[in-house]
Structure formats: C-alpha cells, structure tokens
C-alpha cells in the first residue's frame, strides 16, 4: 500500500499503517509525522521524506527504510527489527533499545545509543556511517555501537563525553586518534583482529545497504570502548 502523507496528521497516518493488511507500506511525502511504526511487527515500511520524532518506538520486528533523514529518538526502546536511514539521524537515536539494528548512512546527533541494553539473545546494534555528537553511549548497558567516521579522514568521529555512565556493551570508533577524557569506568584500546571479527557482520550489513567495502573499512584503525570491570560504578552507601 502507498500512503501519501502530505499534510496528514500523525494520528491518521499511523492509524492507516496499523489498519493496513499489506506486508509493506510505502509512505510518500512524509514530513515530520511522529511515532511512525510504533510497536510494529509483521509489516515493513518504506518512508520517502522526513519522519518525525520517535520513529519506530518500541519496534517489535518490522523493517523500516527511510529514504531521507530522521529526527529525535529514532528506535526508542526498540525490541526487535531494523531501521535503515539513508540520511542522518537526530538526537537520542536508539534510546534504551534492547534489540534490533539501526543503520545510519550519515551522521547521528547527541546521546546516540543512550541506555542501550541487551538481554538473553537480544543484542541491539547501531552502525553510524559518519560521525556522532556528544554523549555517545551514555549509560550504555549492553549492545554494540559502531561509528565508521566515513569521510572524516581518520579524525575522531565523536563529540565530547563518550561513554559517560557506560556499564555494559561495546563501542567501536574508526579513528586514528584515541578519544580523550573518558570516564575512569571506561577502558579504551585499539581493537584487535578478533574484536573486529565480531562486528564484521554488522559492517557488512551496513555496506550491503549503503555500499562500501567492509574488509577495507575494518582494515583501518578502530578504538574499542568497554566498561572497566576492574573499576565499576559504585557510590558507597552506609546504612542509616
């Protein structure tokens, strides 16, 4: 089914998507409508245009392809499924996602991957082609974030305060420079062959969507950030 979303209210648009029985919905002229694909499964969406905030919130298995950019909180608390964004993504991309994958060809804003977590067989993945803003992986509790920094010429593709409050998961940064000022609870080292092998699949999927050679990308220098298990967060309490 094709929906022309021009000047359509988000409630009407989302009701149409929910009610439609087709396995694929194409939305044309999308402009700022929020909550598209909320909690969706069994149905894929192709969006031509610019969806609004909270695209794919609580997503539960559907694949969403965006031929354009997204705004804030894409994939908020996503559980399963895939979001492929051909443009850029806004702030808080993948907030608290527990499963599924988000691929962004361009850049992503502040607080990307904040409070991502993994559970049993669910390991959420975010791959960003370009660069990201500050607070990448804040409070990260699980899952994998890969920032490829394509077109950054080896410069560090992140803003400030990466990994603040991180207590699980992994962050891979393709960069010639080590991020500075990381919190003491986070360790950072050059990624080994073995480390890279673990994300080969995700980078290949990224390249399958947007082009590029995964082996070539992974051949370059990556830094790997992980929580420092020797120095966990603890605020010492005393019983009163």
């Amino acid at each position: 089914m094709n929906i022309n979303a021009k000047a359509m209210h988000f409630k009407d648009l989302n009701a149409k998507i929910r009610e439609c029985d087709d396995s694929q919905v194409v939305i044309d002229n999308c402009l700022g409508q929020r909550y598209i694909g909320t909690g969706l499964n069994h149905k894929d969406i192709i969006i031509n245009g610019l969806p609004g905030n909270a695209l794919g919130a609580y997503l539960d298995g559907s694949k969403i392809i965006v031929n354009g950019s997204t705004q804030e909180a894409t994939g908020d608390t996503m559980n399963e499924g895939e979001i492929v964004i051909y443009g850029n993504a806004g702030d808080a991309t993948g907030y608290a996602m527990r499963g599924g994958k988000i691929f962004v060809r361009g850049n992503s804003g502040y607080r990307t991957g904040i409070h991502m977590k993994e559970y049993q067989d669910k390991i959420p993945v975010i791959v960003i082609g370009g660069r990201v803003g500050s607070f990448l992986g804040e409070y990260q509790a699980g899952g994998v974030i890969v920032v490829l920094g394509i077109g950054e010429a080896g410069e560090l593709p992140v803003g400030y305060f990466t990994g603040t409050g991180m207590h699980g998961g992994k962050i891979f940064l393709r960069s010639d420079h080590e991020p500075q000022g990381l919190p003491p609870q986070v360790i950072c080292r050059v990624a080994t062959k073995k480390d890279k092998a673990a994300v080969m699949g995700y980078v290949s999927e990224f390249c399958a969507n947007f082009g590029g050679d995964p082996a070539e990308l992974l051949n370059q220098k990556f830094y790997l950030l992980m929580p420092n298990t020797a120095n966990p967060y603890k605020q010492l309490y005393v019983n009163n």
Binding site: T38, Y58, E72, A96, H167
Partner: protein
C-alpha cells in the same frame, strides 16, 4: 574505633520466666540477633543487630519478648540530636552516602492531622450508608468538554479511555525487586477482588501476573526496564514515572547483586548487571518532550489506555502540573515528600520535596484557574494513612489516592525502615526465598481486601455524615474541611477556612 561504637538503639527484653528456649525467635530473625547458648541452656541476643521489626515478638509462643528503646543517649542537645551525631560518626567511618528506606520520619507538620471534616446537623440531613445508596465509584481520565452529536442528533461517543475504580484508592508503584513476588501477588489479587489497580513500579511485569492485567498499571521509568510492546499492552493504564516523593530528582541503582533469577527476566536485563535508572528520562527535557513520550505510548497501545504521569511534589508543582495537564496525559499522580521508598539517600528523603496536602491543593487550584482541571484526573499519594486522609484528599481536589506504605502494613510490615538491607523479616522487601515464603499470599490478599473494605465503609460513613451520597459531590468540596491551628498562609494555600469560621 571507639568513636564508631553506638550503644544498641533497642534493648531486647526477654522474660526468663516465660521463655521456654523454643528457639523460634532465633529462626525468625534474619538479622541473627537471637541465639541459643548450649552451655547455659539459655537464649542470648545481640541487641545491636536488632532493627525493631517485631517479627520475633509476634511469633514468640509465650510472649516472652519485647523490644524497648535502650534509653542510652548522648548529652542532650536540641540542635545536635543523637541522630545527627550518629550520622556523622557513620560517615566519618565509611565515607558513604547515608541510605534509608520508607518515608521521611521527621517531625514535619502533617496537615491531614490539622484538617477537620464537616457533618450535617438539622439542615441537609445526614445519610445512613447502610440503608441508602452511596456511590464511591470513580472514573479516572480526561473528561469531555462537550457533548458530540451526529446529524441525526445521536450521541457520538467521545470519551477518552478511563480507569474505573470501585473505591477512589489504588495501590502505588512498588517494583518487583524492591518488594517480593508474594507481595506483588497479594496486591494484584486484592486489586482484582476490590475492583481497583495495583502498579508494577519500574521493574517490569512478572509473566505470572499478566493475568491480572486489567487491574494493573504498568510503569515506564527512565531505565525502561522490562518495557516492550506486550508489557505496555498488558496493563489497564501506563504510568510514566518522572519522580517519586521520597527522592525527587534522583534516579535509581539496583546493584547487579540483586539482579538474579526472575528479577533479571522481568527487568529484561542480564543477571548480575546493574539496573541504573538515570535521574531524568533523557528524552524528556521539556513539556513538549513529555508530550512526545505520552503519545508514543498511546500510539503503541492504540489510544486504548490512559497515560499517567507521576511526579514528586516539589516547589513549583502547580506550574509543572499545568504543563503535564497540557502534555496529553490523562492522569497526573503527585507523590508527597513523605512517600515511602525501598532505598533513598537519607538527606534527599528527609529534605527534598513538599507535603502532599499543600501540593494537592495548589495543583487543583491552579488547574481550575486555568480551566483545564477536566483535562486530567489527579491521584495523590505520599502518605495516605487512613480513610479520613482519603476523604480529606478528595475534598482538597484529588480524584483518587495511591496507597503503598499502608498496603505493606496490611501485609505485615512493621515500619522498621530497613528495606534497603534486603532482610525483611516479614517477606515483603526481600528476595530471599526463605523470607519471601513467610508472606502467605492468601492471608496477605485477604488482609488487603479487609483493609480496603473497612476504609470503604468509613468513607461512606463520613460522606453520609456530610449529607453527601456520591464521591463526585465530595471532590474539591473544600467547604467540607476546616483547618485547626494553621496560619492564614497555610489556610490560603489549602483553600480552606479555620475551624469556627
């Protein structure tokens, strides 16, 4: 070091003539206070470990035990109280942040106790609730501003989703993790029988309890633990937890050690991983952002469920509530500074926030002045202790109240304020199987039902006394209240007159 030595706060008095050395107390005390001395054939105890939970007292078959304050004091000082001195010693020893549980116990004014309820005499006769119909049924949700009709004049239903309660009382949010499986089961079953709701708190919903969904409010907090589509759709309403009266502005941190077994599954995080709830929701920095979360939840549940926004009562509560009322939320829950908690930094619990009575009156007044009171229902909590508090809260403007500490008391809690130790001898604030099983779920459920039934009788009796036969007519009816011993300013904020006026 001697400086950290405190003489025990409580003394365990055992009547040697009554004690038969049955060792029940030894088995019942998870704090390992009592023990049996083989040599003398007598029971001995280490008073210093006692938290005064009364478990041993209640189970001693010969009534041989009582717990009394030990009476040891430092040199009397109204400024440097014993508590403040001990807290410094504790911190000097550990460098730790003081941690407490349950509600603020300090001597702040309790406005409920300074408010009196009216009754009819001669005019407007009182009503006997046993003989005449009394309506306590309450609907929570947005109220329509206008009647909609189609071209044939037929009514077009335009009512937003509502929660229907037999009594204006719900059980407040307490997570599985903070309280036990058995405690949750009691709350769920009692809510179902009475016709009200219990609240999952932020720890997700155990798979066994999905069957109580139509009496369940599911909570979404900043950590988003256990939040997924089925969870959101399992309950009758969704509550966004912004804050909690006991610790406004503070997030939560359930240490990995407590994330075991079912708790890990229900929260949907791996065993042993820390469950950190950030202080704010990092997608909510404004009312517009709150609006976004409210609507993403409504979208996820097809606009079928009311959304509650729970905030702590803080200084600007009226302005914040006005924003919440415009965020698309259906219900606002306001939690006063005496609200309970499974663990909170002592300083926050005892110094941050304001009393629920003042917050409630201010919010109701503000929403009325702005003409948006019908946009949103108000639930208030943060120490509702009895049916009179409920009546006063409704007359001050609440649609319903949350009770949590009162519910735990009905389950056997003795307010020992040691929940954060995880050693609750009553099987409530603990995950230790041998302690949890002490809370018999049939008995616990019945106790909760009894308490609510009794409160229901008392509420209708007080309503009848005022000549009011419907809870609707009591709501916001501040003429039914008078203050006693309050200043003009306090009366003005509460919007009530002084007794005698």
């Amino acid at each position: 070091m001697a400086v950290d030595y405190f003489y025990p706060e409580y003394e365990i008095v055992r009547d040697p003539n009554r004690c038969i050395a049955c060792r029940v107390c030894e088995r019942q005390c998870a704090n390992k206070v009592h023990s049996y001395d083989e040599a003398s054939g007598k029971m001995v105890c280490d008073d210093a470990k006692c938290v005064n939970c009364h478990r041993c007292v209640a189970l001693c078959p010969t009534r041989a035990l009582k717990i009394v304050p030990s009476g040891d004091t430092f040199k009397s000082n109204s400024n440097w109280t014993d508590n403040y001195m001990k807290e410094i010693y504790r911190q000097a020893n550990s460098g730790g942040v003081l941690l407490s549980s349950m509600g603020n116990p300090d001597n702040f004014p309790v406005y409920w106790d300074k408010i009196l309820i009216n009754a009819s005499q001669v005019t407007n006769p009182s009503i006997d609730p046993l003989r005449e119909p009394m309506e306590t049924r309450t609907f929570l949700g947005k109220k329509p501003t206008h009647v909609k009709r189609d071209s044939n004049g037929r009514l077009v239903p335009n009512l937003e989703p509502q929660l229907e309660l037999a009594l204006p009382i719900l059980f407040g949010g307490m997570s599985y993790g903070a309280i036990s499986y058995n405690a949750h089961e009691c709350l769920a079953r009692a809510a179902e029988t009475i016709g009200t709701f219990y609240n999952t708190g932020e720890g997700g919903l155990h798979k066994d309890f999905y069957k109580y969904g139509k009496n369940t409010i599911v909570q979404v907090a900043s950590g988003r633990f256990g939040v997924h589509k089925d969870y959101l759709n399992a309950g009758a309403a969704i509550e966004i937890k912004i804050g909690q009266g006991a610790k406004p502005g503070i997030g939560g941190h359930l240490p990995g050690l407590k994330i075991v077994g079912d708790i890990s599954q229900t929260r949907m995080i791996p065993m042993g991983s820390d469950a950190i709830s950030p202080a704010p929701h990092h997608d909510i920095y404004s009312i517009e952002d709150l609006h976004q979360l409210v609507y993403s939840l409504k979208e996820a549940t097809n606009y079928e469920k009311p959304v509650i926004v729970k905030i702590a009562a803080v200084h600007n509560v009226a302005a914040i509530a006005s924003g919440v009322a415009r965020s698309g939320a259906d219900i606002i829950a306001i939690d006063g500074f005496r609200g309970g908690t499974g663990a909170a930094p002592t300083r926050i619990r005892d110094n941050v926030g304001i009393p629920i009575e003042l917050a409630l009156a201010a919010v109701d007044q503000r929403l009325r002045e702005e003409g948006i009171r019908g946009n949103i229902s108000i639930i208030c909590g943060g120490s509702i202790r009895n049916s009179a508090d409920v009546v006063k809260a409704i007359a001050l403007g609440a649609d319903a109240v949350y009770i949590a500490t009162a519910a735990l008391l009905a389950l056997g809690c003795h307010l020992c304020r040691s929940c954060h130790t995880g050693n609750c001898n009553w099987g409530i604030a603990t995950q230790k199987p041998e302690l949890v099983k002490r809370l018999n779920t049939d008995v616990g459920t019945e106790h909760l039902i009894n308490m609510l039934t009794a409160w229901g009788h008392e509420i209708t009796e007080m309503m009848g006394g005022m000549g009011i036969n419907s809870i609707e007519a009591l709501r916001g009816n501040r003429l039914m209240l008078r203050g006693i011993g309050l200043t003009d300013r306090e009366l003005a904020i509460l919007g009530i007159k002084h007794a005698g006026e």
